[in-house]
């Protein structure tokens, strides 16, 4: 399946599709920048930096930080690899034909700020249409491995957990599909029809899937955030024996990750792993 994605496109080199590094102050509206900086970089406001409502952006003063951001119109595997090579903190796919300003105001910074804002990390924000079938967990694990964060021995377990979290975020979150239908006679057919329907809805495929990785010397945390309807986090997944056709994703995550936390009404899953 991998090869299909690589081969079927005859596109300009990935480099040409990138808009290059953009510092937040150049590309992102002030309120967005303030939000991102608040989440990822702790303090960006310096006393006497002017009214916060008008200029919440970093101004290059000592002690201030700039979040390196890379924006792209449309993401695919090669472009994302090229983007990661340049090492931005935030990589954001705006979406095809999207109004850039409006896209930036979408709530793609939904992941909770880490306790320690100094920890290294990176943040990838994709549209659902792109994330579906892109196997972004593979790309994210490749990048974690490239940065020396992910031990090759642990990779396949981390990748499976991330895959399950991403699949949940896409299917049950952004596409809003329930697995219950799969249990009905002929339900698998109806389920794949419903999936096709939702993937054909422009409003649905524009919803964002965000993956936020942070790490310390001892652990890695990966947050997966969707923009779907969430679910009742008080309800444990039904325990219906190992014949059930769904519900194993969480079993995998709970078994393989050192900690799984669901927040934001079911829209954010944070996986933690020992390094």
């Amino acid at each position: 399946m991998d090869a299909v994605h690589h081969d079927r496109r005859a596109e300009p080199p990935a480099e040409a599709a990138l808009r290059g590094f953009s510092l937040l102050r150049d590309r992102v509206p002030a309120d967005m920048a303030a939000r991102v900086l608040a989440r990822f970089c702790g303090t960006d406001q310096q006393p006497g930096d002017g009214p916060a409502s008008q200029d919440a952006r970093p101004s290059g003063r000592p002690g201030e930080r700039v979040v390196e951001t890379l924006l792209m119109e449309r993401a695919d595997r090669d472009r994302l690899r090229a983007a990661f090579d340049r090492g931005p903190f935030l990589t954001v796919e705006l979406g095809e034909g999207a109004d850039e300003a409006a896209a930036l105001l979408d709530d793609w910074s939904g992941a909770p700020a880490a306790d320690n804002p100094d920890l290294p990390g990176f943040y990838l924000s994709l549209t659902t249409g792109t994330a579906y079938g892109l196997q972004c967990p593979v790309l994210v694990c490749d990048e974690l491995a490239r940065r020396g964060v992910l031990d090759p021995q642990r990779r396949s377990n981390v990748e499976l957990c991330l895959h399950e979290a991403v699949a949940n975020a896409i299917v049950h979150g952004n596409l809003g599909l329930s697995s219950a239908v799969k249990g009905e006679p002929g339900g698998h057919r109806r389920f794949s029809e419903m999936m096709r329907d939702r993937l054909g809805d422009p409003a649905v495929v524009r919803r964002r899937l965000d993956i936020f990785c942070r790490w310390s010397e001892r652990s890695i945390a990966i947050a997966v955030v969707d923009q779907g309807g969430g679910f009742d986090t008080e309800l444990a997944p039904p325990i219906s024996g190992n014949k059930a056709r769904s519900g194993r994703g969480f079993v995998f995550m709970r078994t393989l990750a050192s900690r799984v936390t669901v927040t934001d009404g079911g829209r954010c899953t944070v996986l933690q792993f020992d390094r």
């Binding site: 399946m1 991998d2 579906y132 079938g133 196997q135 396949s156 377990n157 499976l160 895959h163 399950e164 699949a167 896409i170 299917v171 697995s179 799969k182 698998h188 057919r189 389920f191 794949s192 999936m195 096709r196 190992n242 014949k243 059930a244 056709r245 769904s246 519900g247 194993r248 994703g249 079993v251 995998f252 078994t255 393989l256």
Partner: protein, 104 residues
């Protein structure tokens, strides 16, 4: 996921390759469709050869259970053969060998 089918005596063998995951729901009817002709021609074993499968997720495991149920409805015995690496890890985590016949 891609698959290739061969008929051998009393069995139909389906060789799966690539990744079987949540984006592959529409591939399953292609396998289910073979069950009718199998039953009609007296082939009673459906062998899923997974030795070339690289990855399976929880949705893919759910698809195996759907296939098994459909096979049973046709009085066909389904067997999973040769899962390795990450695929075997997923099958073991889900304790699927308690409900599906797995051959090395």
């Amino acid at each position: 996921m891609d698959f290739k089918t061969t008929n051998t005596g009393d069995a139909t063998e389906v060789r799966l390759a690539g990744r079987l995951e949540f984006t592959d729901h529409d591939k399953i009817p292609g396998i289910i469709e073979m069950l009718d002709p199998m039953a009609q021609t007296g082939r009673r074993r459906l062998v899923l050869d997974m030795s070339a499968l690289e990855f399976i997720d929880s949705a893919g495991l759910g698809m195996l259970l759907i296939l098994q149920e459909e096979a049973e409805n046709h009085e066909i015995k389904m067997v999973v053969r040769g899962p390795a690496g990450d695929v075997r890890r997923s099958i073991e985590l889900a304790r699927l060998s308690e409900i599906i016949t797995i051959e090395p």
